[in-house]
Symmetry: C2
Subunit: 611 residues, 2 copies
Amino acid sequence: MEAPAQMWGSVRRLVLGSPLPTARMHAERVGLLGGLAVFASDALSSVAYGTEEVLLMLVLAGAMGLPYAVPVTVAIVVLIAIVATSYRQTVVEYPSGGGAYVVARDNLGPLAANTAAAALLADYVLTVAVSVTAGVAAITSAFPALLEESVAISVVCVLFVMVVNLRGVRESAAAFAVPVYLFVLCVLSLVAWGLCKSATGWHGTIGTAPSLALVAGQPLTAFLVLRAFSSGCAALTGIEAVANGVQAFKPPSGPRAAAVLAVLATILGVSTLGTAVLARHLSIVPSETETVLSQIGRQVFGESPMYYLLQATTAIVLILAANTSFAGCPRLAAFLADDKFLPRQFGTLGNRLVYSNGIIVLAVVACVLIIIFGGAVTRLIPLYAVGVFTAFTLSQTGMVRHWFRQRGAGWQTRAVVNGVGAVVTGVVLFVVGVTKFVHGAWLVCVFIPLTVLAFQQVRRHYQWVADSLRLSGKVEAPALRNLNLLLVGGLNRGLIEGLRYLKSLSGDACGVHVATLGQDNTKLESAWKELAPGIPLSVLASPYRDISGPLLDFIEAERAQGGYDVVTVILPEFTVRSWWESMLHNHTALWLQFVLRNAPGVAVANMRYRL
Amino acid sequence: MEAPAQMWGSVRRLVLGSPLPTARMHAERVGLLGGLAVFASDALSSVAYGTEEVLLMLVLAGAMGLPYAVPVTVAIVVLIAIVATSYRQTVVEYPSGGGAYVVARDNLGPLAANTAAAALLADYVLTVAVSVTAGVAAITSAFPALLEESVAISVVCVLFVMVVNLRGVRESAAAFAVPVYLFVLCVLSLVAWGLCKSATGWHGTIGTAPSLALVAGQPLTAFLVLRAFSSGCAALTGIEAVANGVQAFKPPSGPRAAAVLAVLATILGVSTLGTAVLARHLSIVPSETETVLSQIGRQVFGESPMYYLLQATTAIVLILAANTSFAGCPRLAAFLADDKFLPRQFGTLGNRLVYSNGIIVLAVVACVLIIIFGGAVTRLIPLYAVGVFTAFTLSQTGMVRHWFRQRGAGWQTRAVVNGVGAVVTGVVLFVVGVTKFVHGAWLVCVFIPLTVLAFQQVRRHYQWVADSLRLSGKVEAPALRNLNLLLVGGLNRGLIEGLRYLKSLSGDACGVHVATLGQDNTKLESAWKELAPGIPLSVLASPYRDISGPLLDFIEAERAQGGYDVVTVILPEFTVRSWWESMLHNHTALWLQFVLRNAPGVAVANMRYRL
């Protein structure tokens, strides 16, 4: 039994790196560029499909719908600007982390906060499952031979992102910065180069991908335009993670997080609007075999290395979108654990100064979703639009309340900004909820109340424990009345080791031998008399060959007759040299420790000696 | 955490029945009829295929071979008589169980005994796997729809036989007596009725099953006849189990077991010889679609209910052949465990006075074999002929040695009987080994030495433990120098409970608090001063947020500086009301118990209190 703990320690050090001291907490924080790499991948990945989602909705109304793509995208960019501005105010006001949960808690009360938290937890898990599956789908459509293994590849990707995150915030920033920045570079080059060419009168070559038939299936209504708008709003999910993770930034954390939000919003706005304008200029129609971004890339870059780089980094960034959840979700769970709504294990910093338990649970739950739903996981996307906009609406409503309470300089303007955001995101929430209710949004209406109920159940338990543990009034600690009881297995070295220990503990003492085999004990009894004069030895009969039953009866009787508050059962146990040797023994001591754990007024002293 | 042990106890009582007191050991024994039901099924099941195996060999020489069936069967019956007579002598000489292992151990030394034991253990496992698979195959050939599920059905059958055996010897006798006796009745009726009809000049109707083409593939050599003889010897496997299980019989155990052997041998001889004679008289040739026994039954009974009863009980008895292994194998393992060649857990009587661990391990290993090999498990049959005859040869050689040593009245006759048996089974062993070597018998030559090596390794370990535990010369038990160390989590009720316990143990004491969070401890320290005057409190820094590391360093330092032999670490721990509540807590105490288990000179006292 030599040290399974040590072996586990070595494996852990190899995979995760050496433990970091608490004092290195500050050094583990990230700056602007690192923060962008950690927190931006989810938002940036939406550039890969944002314009496409808008076009897919509008094309339902046939060719007439397509011209609305640019105004709808402008509205989305305005929404991004509004939400980013609002959250910039929030992160400065809440420098220790200001996601929807914290803002709602401080301004709207625990029920709103729990609702926001439940919605966000579901979203983070779904983001991991959906984005990894989508990224792997991009890979398998390039290499169809891998299609059979896509679930396994997805699980491996999730576990890879998990391990990098367990190694620490700085490590994940370093590992994922290169592909994220390459993708940003590719998209910005695409927009810049495409717009330059357009400005010089270029209209692209003829599209190669077979377009969808431009048949108007639905009338072009305001409702349809709103749906297109809400479909494009998936781009906003990444913003919440930055607000949750302010503590991950180097001080001054608030302004640094605000700067990241500004840069992120700018890149996101420019890329989304740029691709929408280019798509319109090139008359691109969504296709079933090629993404809109790929169509634009092929037109602008031709089939050059730049085009293939764009495609490759798109696939990687889709997988890395999961990383934003790994940055956001464990922090949210830690906030909830600190407020006693989730098990306290989620609030414990791991060896590498990250919330390891949250990271592991997120990865496991996401893998379970991927395994259960397989490729069909993208059907869960409507669920998470509902979650994000629930959180946004609650957060921004909370901020309006905040400004009304604070009434600092310029509070009216800020309240108006947040108010507009709250109303707009509320409308989007309403639209998504209504249009997607039968397609799965109803699940959210079941999940959120159940989760909130669970939060409150957990909180109630911790409250009860805290009340029970609290010391009030004049406290004293008078000695208990204790009986030391040595369990004697037979006439061997264990008896000597146990007796020597028993004698070192003064106070009332006795020995107990349970005669499971019904053999003669006179030799044992006479040896005991000589070795332990004055200490009584009781021999208990055991008709069912069981040790714990007679022992518990004896303890009960001693407590009742002797007036003992507690009986300390001393279990001497020898240690052997290896795991296979340990399998050759009965582990009576271990079993008794387990059985005696729940007996009232029994302390178990396990005393191990080497042979 | 309320009592998973209790819940487990209820489930166990439901499935296995209430525990039996050791004093009921005698009442749990079986008489002649019960013993026949428990121990005979393996031997009787060979009636179902014994004649067939002989004919299958002889038919290799074409029609010329078939007439040899009756003389070969006569030889087998003589062998049965010899082995049974020898074993009747053995069980009377060894009333506490006299299988090949015990006889070889007492007369030929541990190496021969270990060889016999290894061969028999392999055989018992193979018997379970092979006979259950064969019985299930008989069922699935009647109901082909079940063919897909045959592995699952086999596993369920093994587990069923296991549970009945775990309920006790008497229960398994009662459960399996009816089908075993029905089968015996059917076979004896078949023989009697068939021979009566034959005596009146009847020659059967024309066979309906397509016979194998009677082409001589091999010349009819003495070697072929010997192979036919050895193929029919599978009938003898059941005899060993009776000899192992003498203790399972009501006293006088020896004579009662001898009587069972006589009855068993008589039934076996009459049935085997009767079916062989009938097969010859009716000119039956082995077929690929119908068993020889079924052909005889159809001819003698016609398609009457009696024929179908014969077929149904045949299938059941094939499955129940596994029961003989469940009666024999755990007892053999218990003998080995008593001699310290196997883990001692195999020697422990379970709740129902059977060797539960052996029964469970046998079932699990057999199920693993069935799952790995599936229907191909019958290919393993050559292996177990080698095993049985190794055991027979060693056992009877041992008996010869025994008589030479004892030289009681009539020892020469007995030595001759056993000597003949030893020579004959030795020849059969040689024939089977040579003819089947490439077909799998070589595996036995690998398995037996490896197992014997493992036996000796286990024995060496127990010897070392026994030497280390043994007390020799003048022993004393002077008190150790002990320090009681209370681990303090914070200023709460746990501190009070722990302190009250600490004060009840007199002697040196101290408190230790590990500051994992780096917060201010002045309040704790001043409260401690007031509550525990005179007891020092040490606050340990923990840069890596870990409790065990600093604690172990502190203990090491105290042992070195204070000269303590042992440090008792007191871990107060509160109990909660249910399993889900317990999941909400860190289980620091449990983790520390695990880590501190292997620290030298540390005793862990776990002290639980209710909230």
